[in-house]
């Protein structure tokens, strides 16, 4: 149980900071460049992404587990009842992943838009055009695909991600996107007052800044293994204390 909580925490931290969707994988660049002009709209966009990415992760985890993955229960049941038992053994619909995820994302965005419009009109107004824009945000699809790779490709079925891990990855990724886009918006608000050389104006300087920002986020590399070591229960600490040089005392307090 404890190690599961550590796992969840680390998945969240890794998705938000270390393997930040925007600054590590460079997905979701178009809203990152397009909507990062003002901090307020950037924050709204970030919140919308967190919201949609969680719903998309929920749906894609469910569909992958029950329909798409090799030997998925629902597909198997259909094959066994309407086809031959031999057919049921070999079901694998992972080729459908992209189309199914896009289908699910687009329709959930549509649904969320209608829901927000009815019950939260101010929020709907604030999000405006960004909510439908998220439909084509590759960061969302990317999160779905990561979750799929953690369910389908694993050797040991016990290592396959459960819904909690998938949702944590999605929420962490959404928070990471929000952090990145808000930082970027802050920089660009300052950048408006700067005398940027003509060839670099506009999108060019924005992408350069994004690159520098990405290098800054490289500084988080390795934080996850450090955290894991720090949080592991006693035996791991004891084992580490033996290997660490005792004299300087830096390793002992981890």
């Amino acid at each position: 149980m404890f190690s599961y909580l550590i796992d969840i925490f680390l998945i969240g931290v890794v998705a938000a900071l270390i393997n930040n969707f925007v600054l590590y994988y460079f997905v979701g660049i178009c809203p990152f460049v397009g909507v990062s002009r003002k901090i307020s709209t950037a924050f709204g966009m970030g919140c919308a992404v967190i919201f949609v990415i969680s719903i998309a992760a929920l749906i894609s985890w469910t569909i992958t587990t029950f329909v798409l993955m090799p030997g998925a229960p629902l597909t198997r049941w259909v094959a066994a009842h309407f086809m031959t038992p031999e057919a049921a053994a070999g079901v694998d619909l992972t080729i459908l992943s992209y189309i199914v995820y896009i289908f699910a994302i687009a329709s959930s965005v549509q649904f969320v838009e209608m829901y927000v419009r009815k019950f939260f009109p101010p929020l709907y107004k604030a999000l405006g055009v960004y909510l439908p824009l998220i439909t084509t945000n590759c960061a969302i699809l990317f999160a779905c695909l990561i979750i799929m790779s953690k369910i389908v490709g694993v050797d040991n079925p016990a290592d396959a991600w459960d819904l909690g891990r998938g949702l944590t990855l999605a929420v962490g990724g959404g928070i990471g996107f929000t952090i990145a886009i808000v930082i970027m918006a802050g920089i660009r608000e300052e950048l408006d007052l700067c005398d940027v050389p003509k060839p670099f104006q506009g999108a060019a300087i924005t992408l350069i800044v994004a690159g520098i920002l990405a290098m800054g986020f490289m500084g988080f590399t390795g934080v996850d293994s450090g955290l894991r070591k720090a949080m592991m229960p006693a035996p791991a600490v004891a084992a580490q204390a033996q290997t660490a040089p005792a004299a300087d005392g830096t390793g002992a307090n981890q």
């Binding site: 329909v67 619909l93 080729i95 459908l96 189309i99 019950f119 007052l193």
Partner: protein, 303 residues
């Protein structure tokens, strides 16, 4: 890939399509929001420039404002009278007479007319230069760094010889230039005629101080006010009463223009036929570029 996979894929997609379309169909009824059909009709009728010239965020916001909060139907500067008429038809009301809104630059000092300019090495924007004391001696006049030029989406305002100059052929009256000018010398004025009289100065100081800083600035001598009642002097500057402007007083006004020792009563707007005839043989410049003679140093500062 065998027939099992193919049929299962087809069944999966079909099943998803059925489930999702059912949910979305239910949601679109359950979460239906009533929108006034007039709002959509007005959005259709508006030009869709989203310039913000009406004072609303965009065309959709203005349409909402017209229907819900009774905003005037003739506020769209891009669409003009035709657009106002169609919006009024949708709303079922009479349209008031409307005038095109155009900017007037209340400064007439070109580069050589300004006294007491000092070298300025900061950001090449009016916004920044305005924060620095002593860039130029006149604290009211045009700084000439072209914030208005950059704000204009329609290429209608340029800094010519250090002074912002409006190209009234291209201007649509969105008011972007007026809102960025840090010295507020650009006002958006309803043009009752294609050419209207304006006061080309913003300096509120007394005559002696104006003379010390500008070759052409208004010295508040009240010569115009003596000639015509349309002019009132406030804060050492004449104001023009456009409401009572008519053909009868034109003679007085022309006399006042001639009397003005600094020639600060200027006609702005589209050029008169006489002006066009006078310049029709002159070649047009290909590009009118902002001219940063406003610093002594020729090298542009790059930070």
């Amino acid at each position: 890939m065998n027939w099992v996979t193919i049929s299962l894929s087809a069944a999966t997609l079909f099943g998803m399509a059925v489930v999702i379309s059912y949910i979305l169909g239910w949601a679109s009824k359950a979460f239906y929001v009533k929108v006034d059909p007039r709002i959509e009709a007005i959005i259709e009728a508006l030009p869709g420039a989203n310039c913000g010239g009406c004072g609303f965020v965009g065309c959709a916001d203005y349409a909402e404002g017209v229907v819900l909060s009774g905003a005037a139907v003739n506020r769209c500067p891009v669409g003009g009278a035709a657009c106002a008429a169609s919006v009024a038809a949708i709303m079922g009301i009479e349209v008031d007479e409307s005038y095109p809104q155009r900017p007037i630059v209340h400064c007439g000092a070109h580069y050589e007319d300004r006294k007491g300019r000092t070298p300025y090495f900061g950001e090449m924007t009016c916004q920044a230069a305005n924060m620095v004391a002593g860039v130029q001696a006149c604290t009211y006049g045009c700084l000439g760094f072209g914030d208005c030029t950059r704000a204009c989406k329609y290429d209608a305002i340029h800094v010519i010889d250090g002074l912002a100059t409006v190209d009234y052929d291209k201007c649509i009256g969105c008011g972007a230039c007026g809102s960025v000018c840090p010295r507020n010398i650009i006002t958006i004025t309803p043009f009752k005629k294609s050419r209207i009289l304006a006061v080309g100065c913003s300096n509120k100081d007394a005559g002696r101080e104006v003379m010390a800083v500008c070759e052409v600035g208004c010295i508040g001598c009240k010569a115009c006010a003596k000639k015509s009642e349309l002019f009132k002097i406030e804060d050492n500057l004449p104001t023009i009463d456009y409401e009572h402007w008519d053909a009868e007083c034109t003679l007085d006004v022309m006399e006042a223009c001639e009397k003005c020792p600094r020639n600060r009563l200027i006609f702005v707007g589209e050029p008169s036929p006489a002006d066009i005839a006078a310049t029709k043989d002159k070649p047009l410049p290909e590009v009118v570029e902002a001219d940063f003679k406003t610093t002594v140093d020729d090298t542009e500062w790059r930070g």
